[in-house]
Symmetry: none
Subunit: 239 residues, 2 copies
DNA sequence: TAGTGGTCTAGACCACGGT
DNA sequence: CCGTGGTCTAGACCACTAG
């Protein structure tokens, strides 16, 4: 069942087990999974551990907990979410998922007489041996600030980590515009959706604290990616 | 501090309190919030309760927990935003434009046993004797917090001004999700665009400082309205 | 070594939904 | 009424980070 010597926490082991069972069809859509007390006996762990595992499933939208009734399988597409434009790498790490990247384009180009490194990546998570893409990421990086940046392999390296650690230029803030668009042939293939699906596009620039432009960004989000924001509404006096 | 007689769970009360403090700036970006043991003493609850509150904050990306170090605030503050809710009116005045509203729906309704005042408005500016609409604004306002709110004429009154001045409930922050959608027949007429145009929809809630929900918001932006944001990157600064 | 967050136990009482 | 999930307590041991 569960392995107490495994460094992987029990609730993660249980979460994975239940997730597998749901995907495998042991519990089908609309069915109830065993109650928390049943799971306690079955796996010999406390309710706390059960609840942590189940609540992770609920967050991902794989199950729905109904007070006084039970926990039912609600097999929808996995949902991920970005809060306040935070990097999605951090977010995925929180969820025990490994970020995956595929480089679609990378070459040096000239725009308005300035040399840029163009990097286009699909980014997502691994699921059942397959990759589910969550963003299409198209960047222009000025070569004069980052000489030799085209030598890195950005299917495994984090762009921002390279900027920080190798070039000592620290990304600080972005200035972006959010635009609704229709899908194109690239997003169709990458996200496995048809072209009539409206998508979110984010366009803008990344700056250091001093206002040095580090990157021109074009980002398209998969429909599996929720885009959440918490914000003041502006009528406040600062202290 | 926390009220044990309040039907609102302790961890929710604590979550709201901490969120409030973060948004208010009691704990500023990059700073640590009190440790879990400190919070235990401060609020006289167990660590389980503390952890549940903090983990909610972490999920929303307002804090980041660092093993062996502590929990730091990672508020990606949105410094400027044209789309800002209360800022809408101010923004227009700045450009010497007079805000115009047309009430499309207003009635009392029941949802999940709670009474809401539903208010749907088109909002925009006057141009050459004609009105150019910029947003379609669909609100649900709980009647128990705002008794008699259906008596106001919101084609001329500002909703937030009424909330503040007549009911002494001050809108403080929003928690929203940005979604790309296709136009429908209402947006077609209002914005004078055809239905194949992708649009931005914003969905969420408006809260007071204390976390009381004042309004459920659904907002659709005209293509004439840009959605710009400046945001910090979630860099945890060491100190 | 002291303090932090991460995991887990073994209980308790409650609100809810169906019988 | 009973079984369900929702909340909460009062402990324990661990892994990690820093001085």
């Amino acid at each position: 069942m569960l392995n107490r010597k495994d460094p992987v926490p029990l609730y993660v082991q249980l979460y994975r087990k239940l997730k597998q069972d749901i995907i495998k069809g042991v519990y089908t859509n609309g069915e109830m999974i065993p109650s928390e007390t049943q799971l306690m006996k079955q796996y010999n762990v406390t309710r706390t551990t059960i609840r942590k595992a189940v609540s992770t499933l609920a967050q991902e939208g794989l199950v729905e907990t109904l007070h006084g009734i039970g926990t039912v399988v609600s097999l929808r597409e996995l949902k991920y979410s970005v809060w306040n434009f935070s990097g999605f790498t951090d977010y995925l790490r929180l969820h025990n998922e490994t970020p995956q990247s595929v480089v679609l384009e990378n070459y040096i180009t000239h725009i308005d007489g300035i040399q840029y490194f163009r990097l286009m990546r699909g980014r997502g998570v691994k699921k059942d041996g397959d990759i589910v893409y969550l963003t299409l990421d198209d960047s222009l990086i000025p070569v004069d600030l980052f000489p030799g940046i085209d030598r890195y392999d950005f299917s495994t390296e984090s762009l921002y980590d390279v900027m920080k650690n190798e070039y000592k230029l620290i990304p600080d803030h972005v200035n972006i515009q959010v635009i609704p668009i229709m899908g194109n042939d690239i997003t169709e293939k990458l996200f496995k959706i048809d072209q009539s699906t409206p998508l979110l596009k984010v366009e803008g620039c990344l700056f250091t604290e001093e206002g040095i432009e580090l990157e021109k960004i074009k980002l398209i989000y998969s429909p599996n990616m929720d885009f959440n924001v918490i914000s003041n509404i502006g009528n406040r006096q600062k202290r």
